[in-house]
Symmetry: C2
Subunit: 335 residues, 2 copies
């Protein structure tokens, strides 16, 4: 399977995140990117498809802000990375805000997603990697891998969150639709619910979003990913959330995967985007599932057996030493 | 003017708040309470009206959580004060959440409002102070002062924020309504917009909410208090926001006050609740208006000239050394 990345993706390096009331070292480290490259080899450089396919998913004002947020933060005399501390929990709406803190909060859902000097370039590079992998598949490859980092599935059309700034899976899916493939399925097998992806497609009847994840009553992002979220309007029934308890191993995971794959088939998808997170790994430092490397090979094979053109987009996975091999095992399912 | 407080209000002592990307010492300190008591004298102890008048404003699940949040935080092995780090910025709704961080975020709008060991008792005592002041006015006093601390105007029916946990002004207003006074006006002259009070009465045609505050494009709470927020449904036109620029002095403040007082008159209010913050003071460490002690005396006199039965509820004010005298100057307007 070909894979794509951009060197800028290794240069996004926030220092810390707020977690459980304390600062902790930023878990979504540049080392993750290097570890995967090490395991897979250098791959191909992402082609630059420009801003238009990103604008097909994200709000222009959000993008403009994301691009300049770190510079504005520094210009306001702040040190370190940009982070919000107040959030529009009631009736979000476009507002003409000036103070950088106001704008950071307006476009964020948490205090775990700092904007650092290299953030925009890395996120942009990741989105281009996703677009490049999609381009390969639309060009005839059975599958391709986008080594996205930072990840994407927690950010919505106009908010960042959960280490995510641009929703790579959504950008890839919309790019496929722009090239004539209307029925797309997005399968999210990261440990965490892909709330941003869900929000983007919540009322879209053409894009199925199916997610298997840790139950949000105990795991990030908490306020999305509950089983009763099923889509709305034309998208009613096109969101499928399969939350599983902490401690889940392959025995319990595999049936949920089969349920999700049934939904992909029932959707009549012509193309699949997989949001793959290796944070379901038994050794992951911030997560609580118990999948093994062998399970990743089995999971990849089972998804590949759908026989759909597939773009795999990298999401989370924080056991850095095991990460490259875990990704390789998953992608090996398509061989 | 009689004033009311409860000793528990001095025992809420969070250690720090997140502000502009860094921890800072908690500005809403117990010393504020002592400073006002020092200036006004001990006053009268709040009577305990129980939980019912608080439940007339706040969501029962929120209250149950607030009461146990700090104990849950400690039980989860956390140190320090309880603080959220993820926020439901999209489609808040009641959810069955377990993890303390999930629940903190679900009931919060910022990372500046920690729940410490003494928080519930202090907030409860403050609400009883407001109810006691209202009881004095309903019993015939022309005016009364509730030395509320923590303040209340930033918290809504089911969320804390901006150092606020229980909305004392709203609780007092609802108590007046329960005793037969239907048309109430709430005048908020804190430096910051009273977003919680606004939310609580946004669709209520009987309660006018008029607020003069720093423009939210640059000041907390950022996402509320813009001039185009005017109420909704039966409350359409019953919310009046008068944002003013940083640097405002009495010359520019007084006309806005007159506009607000005109609205109170036009509402035909039978009773007034004043959310008074002394953080409009020229020496306030976190704010940017330029009112003086003399201005507070003038402001109090101008509001008192409405001739309405008035309950003054304490909100912010962080220049601790000047706080007691500033409060006394404002209340002197009723003499
Ligand atoms: Zn994850
Ligand atoms: Zn204030």
């Amino acid at each position: 399977m070909r894979h794509f990345s951009d060197p800028a993706q290794g240069r996004h390096a926030p220092l810390r995140e707020l977690h459980n009331g304390e600062w902790m070292d930023y878990a979504e480290s540049p080392a993750r990117f290097e570890a995967i490259l090490q395991a897979l080899g250098p791959g191909e450089p992402a082609r630059d498809f420009g801003l238009d396919p990103i604008l097909a998913v994200h709000d222009p004002a959000y993008l403009a802000f994301l691009r300049e947020a770190h510079a504005l933060w520094r210009a306001a005399g702040r040190t370190g990375d940009a982070l919000g501390y107040v959030f529009p929990v009631v009736a979000r709406r476009p507002l003409d805000l000036e103070r950088i803190d106001a704008r950071m909060g307006a476009y964020s859902m948490d205090v775990s997603t700092p904007v650092a000097a290299g953030t925009w370039a890395a996120a942009y590079g990741g989105a281009q990697s996703a677009l490049s992998a999609m381009d390969a598949v639309l060009g005839g490859d059975a599958s391709a891998f986008a080594l996205c980092r930072p990840p994407g599935h927690h950010c919505g059309a106009d908010y960042m969150g959960g280490y995510c700034y641009l929703n790579n899976a959504a950008i890839a899916a919309r790019a496929a639709q722009a090239r004539g493939i209307s029925r797309v399925a997005i399968l999210d097998v990261d440990y965490h619910h892909g709330n941003g992806t869900q929000d983007i497609f919540y009322e879209d009847g053409d894009v199925l979003f199916a997610s298997i994840h840790a139950h949000p009553k105990n795991d990030f992002p908490f306020y999305w990913g509950h089983a009763d979220e099923r889509g709305a309007g034309p998208g009613e029934g096109k969101t499928l959330n399969l939350p599983l308890p902490q401690g889940t191993d392959w025995t319990a995971y595999a049936p949920a995967l089969d349920t999700a794959l049934d939904a992909v088939r029932a959707h009549g998808a012509d193309l699949l985007v997989v949001s793959f997170g290796a944070d379901t790994f038994v050794g992951d430092p911030i997560s609580h599932f118990k999948l093994t490397r062998e399970d990743y090979a089995a999971m990849g094979a089972r998804i590949a057996a759908l026989g759909l053109p597939s773009v795999v987009v990298m999401e989370g996975g924080y056991a850095v030493d095991a990460l490259g091999a875990n990704v390789a095992a998953f992608l090996g399912g398509w061989d």
